[in-house]
């Protein structure tokens, strides 16, 4: 089987905090993964280690059989949950930045998606609404052609229209040759999209498996499973 990401006993400690504890995970081609858990459970840390923005303090991790470095950054399209697009840029300049920096950036797709997302190229990023910013972020991320896509909280705090558009974009653009990891704590919004789910708690994997199998076995929706897993959190 072809694993795009392989974590073996992965650990991440900060000065005072243990953010990831012995994570063993494999991510396969052609699947959409849900990384679930409340705030502070380690979702973002795991994504940042995969994106090589944070370095692990123990264990191993490989991205397409390579140790994370600036080279693996070319294989990973990561959308941080933060508003990371420079607010002084015009939308057009943000798109050009991606074109300049990433060889895999598909300009045509980006322009198509921007018009689907109702975003004006001439507008300043700083003057976009929260929903528009989120739509711009996902457009930039999805318009790259890579093996690994990671979306950190893509629906959090958004209006229904933005959420619907982003969901549609994820489904429509998902490519069978790649893997997609979506972190969220809004499970019911997104559970129909997920092939597999990983529940994190205090930096550890507490439950993982195929979404449909979990539903059959437990006779519960993901939302209900989520509430059960984190009832004392």
């Amino acid at each position: 089987m072809n694993y795009l990401i392989n974590c073996i006993n992965l650990q991440k400690n900060y000065l005072k905090k243990r953010a990831l504890v012995n994570i063993n995970l494999k991510f396969q081609e052609g699947k959409i993964y849900g990384l679930l858990g409340p705030n502070g459970s380690g979702k973002t840390t795991l994504m940042k280690v995969i994106a090589d923005l944070h370095k692990q303090t123990g264990g191993e991790i490989t991205i397409c059989d390579e140790v994370p470095s600036h080279k693996t950054k070319a294989m990973v399209a990561y959308m941080p949950t933060e508003n990371y697009v420079y607010s002084w840029m015009k939308v057009k300049e943000a798109v050009n930045f991606y074109r300049d920096m990433y060889n895999d950036f598909d300009m045509k797709k980006a322009l198509e998606l921007l018009s689907f997302m109702d975003i004006d190229l001439e507008q300043k990023v700083g003057s976009l609404s929260t929903g528009q910013r989120a739509r711009l972020k996902i457009t930039l991320t999805i318009s790259r052609k890579v093996k690994i896509y990671m979306l950190d909280e893509p629906l959090n705090g958004l209006d229904p229209i933005s959420r619907a558009k982003i969901k549609e974009c994820i489904i429509d653009q998902f490519d069978e040759g790649s893997t997609m990891i979506i972190s969220t704590h809004l499970v019911d919004e997104i559970e129909q999209i997920l092939d597999e789910v990983i529940f994190l708690e205090k930096g550890e994997v507490v439950l993982q498996g195929e979404t449909e199998e979990m539903r059959i076995k437990r006779g519960q929706s993901l939302e209900e499973i989520y509430r059960e897993v984190y009832k004392h959190a």
Binding site: G30, F174, E191, Q192, I193, L194, E212, R215, L222
Partner: protein
């Protein structure tokens, strides 16, 4: 599309398509949407829809022409069989619901006749 999420989504989508076939919304021999388009319109994972098509093909409800897409079966017998089994399912569910209300079968039949006439 809203799904009850404690039942596997692929099974719910299969039911949906079967109902459309039985009610004639989907005609026999008609070309079905591509998996991607159906996934987008239902807002579900494309892999789930692929599984739906695979299972439907195994049940011979539809068939794939290489390079052309997936089509509804042209077999009339298959379609009436679908109708039968869907009706059976619904009746079973109905009976279970009536049983849980502690109604005996005569009362239920009387009620069915009454409402059937009233709605005519």
């Amino acid at each position: 599309m809203d799904f009850t999420t404690d039942v596997p989504i692929y099974i719910q989508i299969m039911e949906l398509i079967k109902t459309d076939i039985v009610t004639g919304k989907l005609q026999k021999g008609e070309k079905m949407m591509s998996t991607r388009d159906l996934a987008v319109s239902l807002k579900v994972n494309p892999n789930t829809v692929q599984r739906v098509y695979r299972e439907l093909e195994q049940e011979e409800v539809c068939f794939t022409k290489r390079g052309m897409g997936t089509f509804i079966t042209e077999d009339e017998g298959k379609i009436s069989e679908l109708k039968e089994s869907l009706a059976d399912e619904k009746v079973k569910l109905f009976i279970e619901a009536m049983r849980s209300l502690n109604l005996n079968i005569e009362d239920v039949i009387r009620k069915i006749k009454f409402y059937e006439e009233a709605s005519r």
